[in-house]
């Protein structure tokens, strides 16, 4: 087992898993407590347009996804808040629109798209060093913005109307938070892929939420859980030669179900005592 660590691709895979856990532990906690799961799913799927654009322009598809996910975050946030379209309708439309653009771009690109599958479902064993650096930078940005805006993000997550009355510019703060979701999506693309991103964003915080009453502790616990899930998933996928992204999600889901079962058992026992 230990000799595996000598391989560069394994080192990269472990680093990618850890970096992914940090982003999704912090931002995922906001996604879960503010109930932004569907808009986050929309942002991640719409970023497929950027993957396609990357192929078309011959640049790194992840860079394309970065611009597309940021753009769709701002667009979705604005359309859901400032137009008469209902939130889930506009999310659904923009979600599909982004994916359609991706399909068209890929069709227009010369040749065919060899590792398209890994952008959709992730492949943690093929993360290049340049992407690790990008993930590191994005994590740094996410961490810094959250430290600076911690009380505003927490306030609008808890009670938007009161935050507005208390003097917070709710809409810009909300857009900023969505942009951080967009960055998180980009951090996670290589690990679990666009389609599975939403699971890794929500499962660790949803698990942690059952055990703590503090948002900060929830974030820390989510990061630790995420690191365990990605490492365990990576190891299992290597061991059985199965898709890494899907394995990570499978491991996380099983852990979540187990924790739900455990919590309800403990509660039942407490009541019967």
């Amino acid at each position: 087992m230990l000799e595996l660590l000598q391989y560069q691709f394994i080192q990269n895979a472990l680093a990618a898993g850890l970096l992914a856990s940090i982003a999704c532990g912090i931002i995922g906690s906001y996604v879960v407590v503010k109930r932004m799961v569907s808009i986050s799913g929309g942002i991640s799927h719409a970023s497929f347009g950027g993957i396609g654009l990357g192929y078309l322009l011959g640049i790194n598809p992840v860079t394309g996804a970065l611009f597309f996910s940021l753009g769709s975050a701002v667009l979705m946030g604005t359309v859901t808040r400032k137009t008469r379209l209902s939130e889930d309708t506009s999310i659904g439309i923009l979600w599909a629109l982004g994916m359609s653009l991706g399909v068209i771009f890929i069709g227009l690109a010369p040749g065919y798209a060899p590792d398209l599958f890994s952008y959709l479902f992730g492949n943690i064993l093929t993360v290049p060093g340049s992407d690790i650096i990008m993930m590191l930078v994005l994590n740094g940005i996410i961490l810094m913005v959250v430290i600076l805006f911690f009380k505003e993000f927490s306030a609008i997550s808890f009670d938007e109307e009161f935050s507005r009355v208390a003097g917070v510019a709710v809409f810009p703060v909300y857009l900023l938070l969505l942009c951080l979701v967009a960055l998180t999506v980009v951090v996670l693309i290589r690990v679990v892929g666009i389609v599975l991103v939403i699971a890794l964003i929500t499962i660790p915080p949803a698990t942690a939420k059952q055990f703590t009453h503090s948002l900060k502790k929830m974030m820390v616990a989510s990061i630790i859980l995420g690191a365990i899930y990605t490492t365990l998933g990576l190891w299992l996928s290597y061991l059985f030669d199965i898709a890494s992204g899907a394995t990570i999600i499978l491991v996380s889901s099983l852990a979540l179900f187990a924790s739900i079962g455990w919590v309800s058992l403990v509660k039942k026992r407490r009541i019967s005592v």
Binding site: V33, R35, L148, F149, F150, K151, E152, S154, A155, S157, F158, D159, E160, E161, F162, S163, R164, V165, A166, G167, V168, K209, T212, H213, S214, L215, K217, M218
Partner: protein, 251 residues
């Protein structure tokens, strides 16, 4: 007595629907005003106009001699129902601190002044020993108290309460009203409610709202006011409207 609120001929439309019209209202610094009226009569809308969350399509709104949005720092607000998820990972202390968001400013944590204000507010509502509690571990009445504490952290000159009793069991209500009476010594209070009996017992002025506002600057409303507002006077009296609303020794 100084007036802190002045509404002149205010009208609010939601698309084609008129929610409020011809609203004229003056509130003074020591008023404890109860606003009653049927559901959908525009009670919450009126509070949101006072907070500057809804802009009227017509008319003038002044609070503390300025616009509602600018006056917000002097206004404490407790919304109808809980706007939040009781499972949210946050304790009493952090909820109350939130009241200081506008004072603390961007890119910084809460100052010691903010924390002192939150402590004072918790003391006022008698909830200091529960400050570490998670919000889901509080009763409805206790939750309402911390929401009031949150509104008090800015030391407001005006407190707006939207149906504050909807979440409080009847045993706790009396205690709650006593707290409001105590607070009224330092600030004006406007309380929106559909519970006419409770309102009539504790407030010192009553208005009735159903699109239009029926208000005489006193505790008295004529039977005709209620009749036009509710549009079904017989049923109202059958429900036992306390007579003191109709005729009372003038305050």
């Amino acid at each position: 007595m100084e007036s802190i609120i002045k509404l002149e001929n205010v009208r609010v439309n939601y698309g084609e629907v008129t929610a409020l019209e011809e609203i004229n209202l003056t509130v003074y610094e020591n008023d404890f005003l109860g606003i009653i009226g049927p559901n959908g009569g525009g009670k919450s809308t009126l509070l949101k106009v006072l907070l500057g969350l809804i802009k009227p399509s017509k008319g003038k709104v002044r609070l503390f001699d300025t616009t509602p949005a600018r006056a917000r720092k002097k206004v404490g607000y407790v919304a109808q129902y809980r706007n939040f998820d009781p499972g949210f990972p946050i304790n009493v202390w952090d909820v109350v601190l939130m009241g200081r968001l506008g004072h603390a400013g961007l890119l910084r944590g809460y100052s010691s002044e903010d924390k002192q204000a939150a402590l004072d507010a918790l003391k006022t509502v008698d909830m200091l020993d529960l400050k570490k509690r998670h919000i889901s571990q509080l009763s409805g009445g206790q939750q309402q108290r911390i929401l009031i504490a949150r509104a008090l952290t800015t030391k407001p000159g005006l407190l707006l309460l939207d149906e504050p009793m909807s979440n409080v069991d009847s045993v706790m209500q009396k205690e709650f009203y006593e707290l409001l009476k105590e607070l009224n010594k330092h600030m004006a209070i406007i309380m929106v409610s559909h519970d006419i009996t409770a309102v009539s017992l504790y407030v010192n002025k009553v208005a009735c709202l159903n699109k239009k506002l029926h208000y005489h600057g006193s505790r008295q409303l004529s039977a005709k006011d209620l009749e036009t507002a509710y549009q079904c006077p017989v049923e109202l009296i059958a429900h036992g409207v306390p007579h003191r609303i109709f005729k009372d020794h003038a305050p």
